[in-house]
Amino acid sequence: MQRFLDPAVLASISSLDLLAKTVVDGFVAGLHRSPDFGFSQEFAEYRAYTPGDDLRHVDWNLYARTERTYLKRYRGETNSQLTVLLDASNSMQYTSGAASVGPPKKMDYARFIAASLFYLAIRNQRDAAGLIVFDDELREFIRPSTRQGQLARLFGALEAAEPRARTDFGKPLLHFQNMLHRRGIAIVVSDFYEDPATVVRMIEPLRYRGHEVVLFHVLDPQEIRPTLKGPALLVDLETEETIEVVPEYAKTTYIERMAAHIEQLGTRARAAGMEYRLLATDQPLDAALREYLTLRQEGN
């Protein structure tokens, strides 16, 4: 089933719905063989009753035998709330591959991730799922919900999200903080062409509000280790600024700087209590789904 998670294969599926179903079904089928994962009504622990706890969760059978009130806890017993923050700036439309060959655009890869997460959350976990599309403005906001038709709305918003303008984390995240009152899982999907300190500083307030934050750093393999055969004139997709590059520079200094950027972003994110994962667009999507389930299993 792993082949259904290959981005190059997924790129040929035009329907996000079908794509997400393919990914998630394949992923879940693989999970059933794993003892580390489980959800729904699996018993987790007993906890002593404290005033204010919901009496519906008291194990009355145990009370009858012991005359003590305990709450019976299950894994995944509570529905979580998933919100995907999708970067739709111009830089996300970059791909090193040609048409139908090679890795997909970073934007498409981000769509695959978001669609799969939504499908997994709503259909499998009964979680509420929402979407924020942003560049330098907040372009689309779908409040997390489990209502009928939520998945279709989310897929429609993903389809409509076309890259444009520049990335600016400050403004959309401010809205995000104001809109999301209930704690949950916030997954930021972006290429993070910004100073790591700035990124973390802008997203960090979500942690203060009790959100579990995951940074999915989507990059094309050519952005990590570029290969230039000769001097090239590079054009910034966001600013349209041009610059000449010699292969020697791309082989040495650029790779060092990009590695330092990735390292710094990961370090700072983890230091701020956030999860960080680098996703190359030629990698399968299961890493992103596995990350989500891991967080959810921890009780979020």
């Binding site: 970059y94 290429d191 094309d220 090239a232 054009v235 966001e238 610059i243 000449e244 650029y254």
Partner: protein
């Protein structure tokens, strides 16, 4: 400043080649989109600019190279100002050759040279040379006017034949020891005969500037005895073949004229002839027989009729009259043709007169070699011992013997008088 070959400046159009290469044929790169130039900052900018700078330097070098090649072909030169007279050597060369005797040439030349010397700045160094048969250095480079003037005034017209080749060689030698520029002022009648056979002999070094002061605008007419053909030795004044004198009279810049030519022997005029010399042409005159006394005679072919160069109107030569000398020619018995050959060769080649006495080898017993100018042994296989002994004595006292070996010598182990065999010889 100027250009000796200005047409080569048309090659400046070639400067368009590096311009075309560097400006019009700029490297075209297809723009390649990237997500962000965040990591292409100062370091890359500077490296790109450095590459461009290198290209500009290459362009400048190529441009300069083409420019220099074109300008070099155009042969630029710089006319140095005369203001730096203190650093220049004033070299005065006065022609004192024989031709300068004509009219007032030498006086005029000397006067002009003295005027030049008087006009020179006091601090400027000068040197005086005389060009006659050879280049004569009269002073060293000096600023002493009195010494220079004295040297110039001391020059008198001589009998030598000046040559510009000799002048060129002397100046080239001088320039090796003199640093700095030299102004060479040549005061001469600029005769064509002063030109050397090889034009390269006249080439002057690059630091020498030649300034000519010709003193003979029009060459005067001159008749001269160009050559004299006369025997150096004369044995028989009545010999029609040898007893005669032939002279060639030639005229330079002369009209057709009738000239009188005399043959003078020991101061006495023996004969006089009248010849017609064409304009700028030659005429031949012959005196025969040449009746001179025994011993050396001072002879002279003299051309009458004055011109500007009286010294070349006569040509002096000497004729010695003597009796013919006897030569003993010893040949093998029965072999007589060698005598004929040797006699013909002797009369044709020898300037003197000889009488050949031919005898067979076995007939020489009573001959005395000392009575002959020299002795010839022509393939003589054997000699009488008495004659051979006499020959040995003759040679030891300075007499000359020519031993000619022929086919007969191979049959005998010993060569007469030589004291050895053919192989040892």
């Amino acid at each position: 400043m100027g250009f000796l070959a200005p047409w080569f400046l048309a090659g400046l159009a070639a400067l368009g080649v590096p311009v075309f290469v560097h400006l019009l044929r700029k490297h075209v790169t297809t723009p390649r989109p990237v997500s962000s130039l965040m990591f292409f900052e100062r370091g890359l900018q500077s490296s790109t600019r450095h590459r461009r700078l290198r290209h500009l330097l290459l362009f400048a070098l190529r441009f300069a190279l083409v420019l220099l090649v074109v300008v070099a072909f155009a042969e630029p030169y710089i006319r140095r100002p005369a203001a730096d007279a203190n650093g220049r050597l004033l070299l005065i060369v006065l022609d004192d050759s024989f031709s300068m005797r004509a009219g007032t040439r030498f006086v005029e030349a000397k006067q002009q040279a003295l005027s030049l010397l008087a006009a020179k700045p006091h601090a400027q160094r000068a040197q005086v040379m005389a060009l006659g048969g050879q280049l004569e250095v009269l002073t060293q480079p000096t600023a002493e006017d009195a010494q220079l003037r004295s040297a110039l005034e001391g020059i008198e017209a001589g009998d030598g034949h000046a040559g510009f080749g000799e002048l060129g060689r002397g100046i080239r030698t001088l320039s090796e020891s003199v640093q700095g520029p030299i102004d060479l002022h040549l005061f001469s009648d600029m005769q064509r005969t002063q030109m050397p056979e090889n034009f390269a002999d006249m080439v002057l070094p690059g630091n020498v500037t030649l300034l000519l002061h010709p003193v003979a605008k029009d060459a005067p007419p001159n008749w001269t005895v160009e050559s004299v053909d006369a025997p150096a030795e004369l044995a028989d004044p009545k010999d029609p073949k040898r007893s005669r004198v032939k002279a060639v009279v030639v005229g330079f810049h002369t009209p057709a004229a009738s000239k009188t030519v005399s043959l003078v022997v020991n101061g006495r005029t023996l004969a006089t002839r009248k010849i017609d010399v064409p304009a700028n042409g030659r005429a031949t005159v012959e005196f025969a027989p040449l009746d001179v006394g025994y011993g050396f005679n001072r002879c002279e072919v003299r051309l009458d009729g004055g011109d500007a160069f009286p010294a070349d109107d006569a040509s002096v030569f000497a004729v010695r009259r003597s009796d013919p000398e006897r030569v003993l020619f010893v040949h093998a018995a029965g072999e007589t043709r060698s005598t004929l050959y040797f006699s013909a060769a002797l009369s044709a080649a020898a300037p003197g007169s000889f009488v050949l006495q031919s005898v067979a080898a076995e007939q020489t017993a009573d001959l005395d070699p000392t009575r002959y100018a020299f002795v010839v042994l022509s393939d003589a296989e054997t000699l009488p011992s008495l004659f051979e002994h006499g020959l040995e004595q003759y040679v030891s006292k300075g007499g000359g013997v020519l031993i000619a070996l022929g086919t007969g010598a191979g049959r005998h182990a010993r060569i007469p008088l030589w004291q050895g065999s053919v192989r040892q010889a």
